[in-house]
Homo-oligomer: 341 residues x 2
């Protein structure tokens, strides 16, 4: 059995409460008392029993990060940033897999883990704004990504319309005329990806290109294989595209694979742009031009915001933050042989 507060108290000849105060610092403690207690703690190797603390406090010190797939390196990179920040603030972060399924997402919304987590950072893809508004569970929740907008929760997502604009304009500036989009079909009930589609459409019109519905390819998920399948469809068109903007880097990488399978070349025949700036894209052949969001920033901010809510910091209205992003140009649009970076 581990050392308890009581043993420390006896050893130091003080009360339980005093030891607790040395440990937690809720109330001031006299210098020499603190000294004695600290010594006892060091000698006996005391560490607080978290279960007891949590039982008493009514909180568990655990927060969850729910993402559609850890397979996506974007989320893996984000997760690490969040894990580190949570640890720094004394919380333990556990990861939940929704597998991008509506059922799993709804269960999380309604507090499947109410008993074990103090708060939730959630990157939904299937649920709708209405689902979130209908939520009754009071566990604090921070939303990330473009799955859902305009709900009474803190929300962090880059400006997807602006980002798509930048991507498409980059392609247009390279004299591409038939620019395809691989993501979500217009009319899909999910909010997700609509913004990127809208940015795509707006950018087309801003550079004077027509919107051709057949150049929008929909996917079931947003993985490599989805990009591959969608690109095959696009290549089967009478007038295939000369450029593609992928919903994310994985989709773009799948698309590049389809292009190569068809015996075509990137970017000579078809230029490709992705989104997320995962490391894989810095080493792919060709390297991938992409929109780079600041994952460290997003993960850290999400954790801090959530913990502030959990700990009932001065109530502020839910915020909606748009972290910075930038276009990173590489071989998949520029061609040639650029240094890795």
């Amino acid at each position: 059995m581990a050392v308890s507060l009581k043993e420390i108290a006896e050893r130091a000849g003080v009360s339980l409460a005093t030891v607790s105060n040395v440990v937690n610092g809720y109330r001031p403690v006299g210098a020499q008392t603190r000294q004695k207690v600290q010594q006892a703690i060091d000698e006996l190797g005391y560490a607080p029993n978290l279960s007891a603390r949590h039982l008493r406090r009514g909180r568990t010190g655990m927060i969850a990060l729910a993402i559609p797939e850890l397979n996506n390196p974007y989320f893996a990179e984000l997760a690490w940033a969040a894990i580190r920040e949570a640890a720094r603030l004394g919380y333990t972060l556990v990861m939940e897999d929704t597998a991008a399924e509506r059922e799993s997402e709804l269960m999380l919304l309604d507090g499947a883990h109410r008993q074990i987590i103090d708060g939730l950072i959630f990157s939904p893809v299937q649920i709708t704004r209405e689902d979130v508004l209908a939520r009754t569970n009071a566990t604090p929740m921070v939303l990330i990504g473009e799955g859902v907008y305009d709900v009474p929760h803190d929300h962090i997502a880059i400006d997807n319309i602006a980002a798509s604009h930048v991507a498409v304009q980059h392609l247009a500036a390279l004299n591409r005329r038939r620019i395809a989009f691989i993501g979500v079909r217009p009319g899909d009930p999910r909010q997700s990806a609509h913004l990127r589609l809208r940015g795509y459409q707006e950018a087309l019109s801003s550079v004077g290109l027509p919107f051709a519905p057949e150049l929008v390819a929909s996917t079931a998920q947003f993985g490599r294989v989805d990009g591959l399948l969608a690109m095959r469809d696009l290549l089967a068109l009478d007038h295939p595209p000369d450029a593609v903007f992928g919903y994310n880097d994985l989709v773009a990488i799948g698309a590049m694979r389809a292009i190569r399978e068809a015996g075509l070349r990137t970017p000579e025949d078809i230029a490709v742009v992705g989104m997320d700036d995962i490391e894989e894209g810095r080493f792919s052949n060709p390297t991938l031009t992409t929109i780079s969001p600041d994952k460290e920033h997003i993960g850290g901010l999400a954790v801090r915001a959530l913990i502030a809510r959990i700990e009932g910091k001065p109530v502020s209205p839910p915020f909606d933050v748009q972290p910075p992003f930038r276009l990173v140009t590489r071989e998949s649009t520029l061609g040639g042989q650029l240094p890795v970076g």
Copy 2:
């Protein structure tokens, strides 16, 4: 506040103990009593307070998976398998990042989180067998990967020598004569990667090829960039290799990047084999030949073994399991245009 056992007991008109027994099934409960209790539970939506349960039981229900980097898709894929299995068995899995640093690994060994976790699944890379033997902490631990061998803990790792054999023999069968290895320099204090190096050496001799020390390139870590740098060194040799066996897929992918940077082609000029079978290698250009271990198997087994130890199942001696693997051949050695899969 959530519903407690007490409320259920009152509602059902029975004692606390009875409700507990319905929930946990430690003692038999009469049919109609059980019925009443179950109804109360359903009506009030009871869920046990885990902090309280853990406090009482002296365990937290949490296990940790410590890996060198979540960035490596191999570990990300493994982690998901472990998370799912842990959840199935009523445990919560938290991830720890060692960043492949010796300091972090030693802290974990010595129970940095003794208070919060019931057990540890650990994939070490820097610590030595002696470090593990010197461990005093009694928290159950299962080791995975080839970081450490011959220690009194359950251990799961594929047969690295055999796997390396297969990889190198595949290259030799393709008439490659100067087969390089990117991994760890002979003499490195870590056990890690020595086995793959040994398998490489043995396979060379078994096919009648000489061992050329200059064809072994060492790396600091095992990421894409490490493979890139090592391959650049190999390409600068007077007699560069015509094939490369990478410590893992990431290293191999970095190597392919370096090959392309140098204006050479894979596999025409240099064939490449990796290890891990991460999804990225199924979509890279060219697709990557690799050794494929069963990650689902490894992750699930590690969790089950650990939980068995935690729950004090019939004491069996520590086991050492070698899960199955297979060679998956793709374009990076065979060339041509194979279907994705």
